[in-house]
């Protein structure tokens, strides 16, 4: 159990030791049950601003539930979520987005009734005039800002490697491109914290490496990233810190090396030694 030493430290102390920013996201005694089944139980951890922080765990560990709790899609049964120091437990996703939190989805959530560019432009929602009357009468200031949003969306698409799909209908794009389209859409909202739910799932090795680069670039621009991912090569390669979950509870936390060497983590993934 010596290996667990780092997790015995409170996340705050860990963060201080690494001289990184204050926690942008803190989860305190968070729990959520579905009809008596505990999906997340008494989970506490913190994510330091500027980090790429991965959440790993076997299937059913509660990773996506955790994402849904943090982003307001589900309401917690207990505990709280602090974003930028404020209690945001159970706050509606659109309010969290206004505070600077966005995410992508494990199962694609694309607006298939729109073009790829329009998908990303929806991401600019918070930065545009979304009132009814100016829209109905197409006031010049709205049109001008909309044109800027369009240019910006096109630039974001190019940034994530989707330059050739700018004029495409979302419904006509391949799976790997749609994964990146979700990232571009989330980035368009200019989040401080971006949660990526299995961005590499279903991608081939080349595409995974490209996503890798995209995530690193985004992180380098100052966006804190929370990553749920099964691709361990990716997780180990790009994460600053990793939190391992099992059956809704904290299993281990630390640097990639620490977590990879943790016997509990190994046991959870490969089955416990008899």
């Amino acid at each position: 159990m010596k290996m667990l030493a780092t997790t015995d430290l409170s996340p705050d102390i860990t963060a201080q030791a690494r001289r990184v920013g204050p926690p942008i996201l803190k989860v305190e005694h968070l729990s959520r049950e579905f009809g008596g089944v505990l999906a997340i139980g008494d989970l506490s951890f913190a994510i330091a601003a500027g980090d790429i922080h991965s959440i790993i765990g076997p299937n059913g560990a509660g990773k996506t539930t955790l994402f849904n709790l943090v982003t307001g899609v589900y309401k917690p049964s207990g505990g709280r979520v602090l974003f930028d120091g404020a209690d945001v437990s159970g706050m509606a996703p659109y309010r969290l987005a206004a505070r600077g939190m966005s995410r992508t989805f494990q199962n694609l959530q694309i607006f298939f009734n729109m073009t790829a560019l329009e998908n990303v432009m929806v991401g600019r929602h918070l930065h545009l005039n979304t009132r009814l009357l100016p829209a109905l009468f197409r006031v010049p200031s709205l049109v001008r800002k909309d044109r800027e949003a369009k240019d910006r969306a096109a630039q974001l698409m190019a940034d994530v490697g989707l330059g050739k799909y700018v004029d495409a209908d979302a419904a006509s794009m391949p799976y790997g491109a749609l994964k990146r389209l979700e990232i571009a859409r989330a980035l368009a909202s200019e989040p401080k914290l971006l949660l990526l739910d299995e961005p590499a799932a279903g991608l081939n090795a080349t595409e995974s490496r490209e996503i890798d680069e995209v995530i690193k670039t985004v992180a380098a621009s100052g966006v804190t990233i929370v990553l749920v991912e099964h691709d361990m090569k990716m997780v180990m390669g790009i994460s600053h810190r990793i939190t391992a979950l099992n059956q809704g509870r904290m299993l281990a936390e630390g640097t990639p090396q620490e977590v990879a060497a943790n016997p509990d983590v190994i046991a959870a993934y490969l089955g416990a030694a008899p």
Binding site: A92, F111, M114, R124, L126, L136, R185
Partner: protein, 315 residues
């Protein structure tokens, strides 16, 4: 961007041109009357399409809003002597408030609750219109005064044709503007994926309420003007089957296509005139059209045809 702007203006100009030259081909007032009815239906359908086609919500009570507008004008002008334009605006404000009060609690929920609630409203409106005979004239309906504004009385098919034509072009213009705006994209995003819209900051409930209110107000304005044009209104104009007819027009013409809604309204207004069987079996024929559309061209007439055209050109 240019192509988009171009496309929008082209469509609007084409619609204006059709409206402008159509009277030359209509031999008498009977045909003008049908064109006017098609125009009124088209105005309602363009608004309904914003709700159904773009935002993905269903209303089974839009004839109720049309009816409230119509009776607001009939009663306020005829019984209370209000100026018609004021009565029209009052009806629109009332319908807007009613739609807001209904939608506000309902649209926080996901799923088809709005369809249920609007179904209820439509039926209630229709019952009230039938039974409050002191005010509404009951099942026989009521006479409505002509529309007067600035001392000018709008009278006759020739005048009303242009009134409705201008109204339709205006409503289509507003609709096209809205769809190609941040709010319009938010509406379409609600249809595409509510959760994805939320996580980039779209208050989905708010936008659903707004588009519902807007489409109800369009219906009310159309209803008010229709009442003045027709001179006689009956509760049948507000009943459930009329609501279904409106939904069928939108679905048949093409969901998420403003011009599709216009085409759907025009075709399904003409059909009963062309086919007498329609008169006797209206509900069955409408149901059949609705089902056939869903099965054979789920995108609706205009988008399906539009998808065929470039393919032919390439071939």
């Amino acid at each position: 961007m240019n192509a988009l702007l171009h496309g929008r203006l082209t469509g609007l100009l084409a619609l204006g041109a059709v409206i402008a030259v159509l009277p030359a081909f209509l031999p008498n007032n009977f045909y003008l009357d049908i064109a006017i009815l098609a125009g009124f239906n088209a105005v309602v359908c363009v608004g309904l399409n914003l709700l159904i086609g773009y935002a993905g919500q269903i209303s089974l009570g839009h004839a109720g809003f049309f009816g409230i507008g119509a009776y607001a004008s009939g009663v306020l002008v005829g019984t209370y002597g209000w100026p018609p334009i004021v009565a029209l605006l009052a009806g629109a404000v009332f319908v807007g408030l009613l739609a807001f009060l209904v939608a506000k609690p309902i649209l926080r929920l996901k799923g088809h609750y709005l369809a249920m609630a609007t179904l209820g409203i439509g039926i209630i409106v229709s019952i009230v219109l039938r039974t409050e005979s002191g005010l509404t004239g009951g099942p026989d309906g009521m006479m409505v005064e002509p529309f007067k504004i600035f001392g000018v009385e709008l009278y006759g098919e020739k005048v009303w044709y242009w009134v409705v034509g201008v109204l339709l072009v205006g409503v289509v213009w507003l609709s096209l503007n809205l769809i190609d705006s941040p709010m319009g994209r938010a509406l379409r995003a609600v249809h595409g994926s509510e959760v994805a819209a939320e996580v980039v900051g779209v208050d989905t409930a708010r936008f659903k309420v707004m588009v519902f209110v807007l489409s109800a107000v369009f219906a009310s304005v159309a209803g008010s003007l229709f009442a003045h044009y027709a001179g006689l209104i009956t509760p049948a104009k507000a009943d459930f089957f009329k609501s279904i007819e409106l939904v069928t027009m939108v679905v048949f013409g093409g969901m998420a296509s403003t011009f599709g809604a216009v085409v759907g309204a025009v075709v399904l207004t003409l059909l009963p005139q062309a086919l007498t069987i329609f008169q006797d079996y209206q509900q069955i024929v409408l149901g059949g059209i609705l089902m056939a559309t869903m099965v054979f061209m789920p995108k609706g007439l205009l988008p399906t045809l539009a998808a065929l055209l470039p393919a032919r050109r390439r071939a």
